[in-house]
Symmetry: C2
């Protein structure tokens, strides 16, 4: 036994217990009887306590010291694994236990109050809850920053997107922020001049038929139903663990398209999990690289693959057949026009592809200022309105439709928002690179052949786990680091050509 193998054994159990928790979280959302939440809470708390104790056990410090001396004898994957173990360990040990539990409690209370306050559009009474959460997040960020030699905001970022630096994101987002308002205006202008607007799709679309169609596409894309399931939940998600993926969706029987693209989005997440290196299961190096890469996989399937003319040429006849419908509304071209309609709006989760990044940039700017102390919670509504107007030319009518719309801040998840747009950019860059290796890819998509794309992704992204940093992984896969020009070019080609 070496110190490294001891560490592997500890992390193997750590991840196996976390995985048990993931399945239970899925069960919560899909199967659990209505009143069993109390019991489930106890089970999840016990798992959280047990895993936390495992990873904060004093002997890990010694094991890491010893493992460092063995480093030369470890292969590349093991060295990466050791690096990722340390990163996790630093996150878990740098914040005092008392602060962790205060923060958990404050987030829980804040989230509960926020659910009601948002309904009542009552920001004033929510302020003290958000202030308390922010205060504790800042303390936690400072503790992590000290331990990891990062700025506090970068320490928060690192929880979701390891290695991300706000200095880099600033450059990217500044570039985008100066591009978006003009771009959005041009797209809207262009779309308003089209001779006729796209035809809305309406009708009744039975859930079982939506499900059958969703499954058909999932299978065609490589979702392995011997290693995963498709169920229903109020909030769709991709859960479970790499070898047992639990994908959920929600069927609206009068709105087929949103559900369909929702399933496709989650399928992107699922294929990433299914393609992770099985031999590194239950080790940090076997995990997905980070939230930006995870989101890149869902957005690649949703925005790059399925919201494309090539794909819709294949999909539209299957949709018509499934629901026994016909007519011009169900032509691929019309569906494409429908789902690429651009219009600034107040709510992020309802935003179209072109305006979505603006929502993210606004949140990123504001949360950085809250973490640095420059922006007080009470001043958030005004700052929100100003930023929305600057980037999207709209102003929220209420706080509920403004700074209170998202769960992230009430729940203490500062540092998460930028991963959405980093993911969208990464998706565009990966898709372009995959297409470059096979000029026939577009033609193949028209006949429902997605093999090249998903084999390319599996080889270049999924099977790499967390061996490389996000930046290295993207460079290895596409030949260059994250390039905002590729993303802008995707948007321009789709919306202005």
């Amino acid at each position: 036994m070496t110190a490294y193998t001891d560490l592997e054994a500890i992390f193997r159990r750590y991840y196996a217990l976390k995985g048990a928790g993931s399945i239970l979280h899925w069960d919560n959302a899909t199967m659990m009887p209505a009143n069993a939440g109390d019991v489930r809470g106890e089970q999840l708390a016990a798992i959280a306590e047990a895993t936390h104790e495992m990873i904060t056990h004093p002997r890990l410090a010694d094991l890491f010291d010893m493992a460092d001396t063995e480093k030369a004898s470890l292969d590349e994957w093991k060295q990466s694994n050791l690096r990722e173990m340390k990163r996790l360990w630093k996150h878990e040990t740098s914040v005092p236990a008392k602060l962790v539990s205060e923060l958990t409690k404050a987030c829980h209370e804040s989230e509960l109050f926020w659910r009601k306050a948002r309904k009542d559009n009552n920001f004033a009474d929510f302020i003290p809850y958000q202030e308390k959460v922010l205060k504790l997040v800042r303390e936690s960020a400072q503790a992590k920053a000290d331990a990891m030699k990062l700025t506090p905001y970068d320490a928060l970022l690192d929880q979701y997107e390891p290695g991300a630096k706000s200095a880099e994101i600033d450059k990217i987002f500044d570039n985008l922020a100066s591009f978006l308002p003009g771009f959005i205006t041009k797209v809207m202008d262009r779309q308003s001049k089209e001779p006729t607007p796209p035809i809305e799709i309406s009708g009744f679309f039975p859930a079982n038929k939506q499900k059958a169609l969703g499954r058909k596409f999932m299978e065609r894309m490589g979702f392995d139903f011997t290693r995963g399931r498709l169920d229903e939940s109020t909030h769709p998600f991709c859960g479970g663990v790499a070898g047992d993926v639990r994908l959920t969706t929600r069927y609206n029987e009068t709105d087929f398209l949103s559900g369909f693209f929702g399933i496709m989005h989650e399928t992107g997440h699922a294929l990433y999990e299914m393609g992770l290196p099985a031999q590194w299961r239950n080790q940090p190096v076997g995990e997905a690289r980070g939230m930006a890469f995870h989101e890149s996989q869902s957005l690649l399937v949703e925005m790059q693959l399925t919201i494309s003319k090539d794909f819709l040429i294949f999909a539209a006849p299957l949709m018509r057949e499934t629901f026994d419908v016909s007519g011009p509304a169900w032509e691929a071209e019309n569906i494409y026009r429908l789902v690429t309609r651009v219009k600034p709006s107040l709510i992020r989760v309802d935003a179209d592809e072109a305006t979505y990044p603006a929502h993210v940039i606004i949140r990123y700017m504001l949360e950085k200022e809250m973490i640095s102390g420059k922006l007080a919670v009470k001043d958030l509504p005004e700052a929100w309105g100003t930023a929305m107007h600057a980037l999207l030319r709209v102003k929220p009518d209420t706080d509920a439709n403004g700074c209170m719309q998202d769960i992230h801040w009430p729940d203490g998840a500062f540092g998460y928002f930028p991963t959405y747009t980093l993911g969208a950019m990464t998706a565009a860059q990966l898709f372009a690179a995959a297409k470059k290796t096979n000029p026939e890819m577009g033609e193949q998509m028209r006949i429902g052949n997605f093999t090249h794309l998903f084999e390319w992704l599996k080889k270049n992204v999924h099977s790499q786990g967390s061996k490389l940093s996000s930046a290295e992984l993207l460079k290895q896969a596409t030949g260059q680091t994250l390039d905002v020009a590729i993303y802008k070019s995707h948007l321009e080609k789709r919306y202005l050509v």
Copy 2:
């Protein structure tokens, strides 16, 4: 903090993790994708290791010593809780870790081989597997016996039925063994002289209708669907945890009755779990009293309540309505005659109420001799045949239909079998006692009113958890300890009057 409260905290987490494992076991059997067994195995192993370490941690010995000095200050429930904590702790700590893991491995290999060997009726090649399991079970039993000052077989019994003693069971089973052969002959004689045999029920019974009817009865008996579910699995069971009960069944669309009584059987288990004292959840004293009491609850619902003329008078019209059928086969009297038909057969799980105890007694006698070393595995087929003939006047045609039919011994579960018949006897005694407190109970059953029975059970059994010993609990509930005369009287009244 006292030592006792420290122990409560340890056991709280221990049971919460075990509970997480129970939900995952249910998921295995009902929801898990076909190939995810490897991942699930890792999760369950991690839970098993974590809980084992918790309860075998060296500080528990000190805590128990200190808690003993606090005993006078503890109320009755806490004193019982402490007693049960110690019992569990002794079971977990008395066997060396190496032996535990050898036994686990041997049982796993033996069970795997048995599945195939039973199919092939190949006892000869199975012998070494069973011998290895038996050898390790005997070592484990000896270690437990030394620690708990019991005989080795009683130490095994104590795992399933705490406090049970083979000296007591011997008396009861000897009494039954001398009663059964003559009784069975008399019943068969009587049934053969009936002017017409009961009419077999045949037809197609859609699973969804069977399920709807099952749910109707479950609800009427008090199954709380906000605290439990009904699903399907190959082998029906009642799983999950007290506050989140996961009951499963199997629908045979050409055999309605067996599925129906199967659901009723599991509902008895479920109501016990649902009625356990919620304030003692995740503590040993809040658990069901033992396997005999658990089986008593399932058999009480199945054999005492639902296989009764009173119940069937209420149920038969609902069955007819559900499947839109009619005719003499569906009369309550005919259904009753069908399900009380007695005939010795080779397979325990298919046995009727009257011959079932003989199957159990045979296994009990043989496993005691295997544990004491008097009976070698290789001599099992002959001993089996002799015992079957003595009690049931039948001899197995094959070992597959003989000593290889049950999973218990291949899996190392020696000491379990007697709980089935102790459960059946306890069921008869509890039912008789409940009826004595309300002479109208039979009349009420005829109109589908089961309130009195289940309120009585909840008060006198379910809500008592493990506060008392099995013997004390039965005495408190019925006024006397286990009395074989009551059980015999139940059988005689049902089959000979």
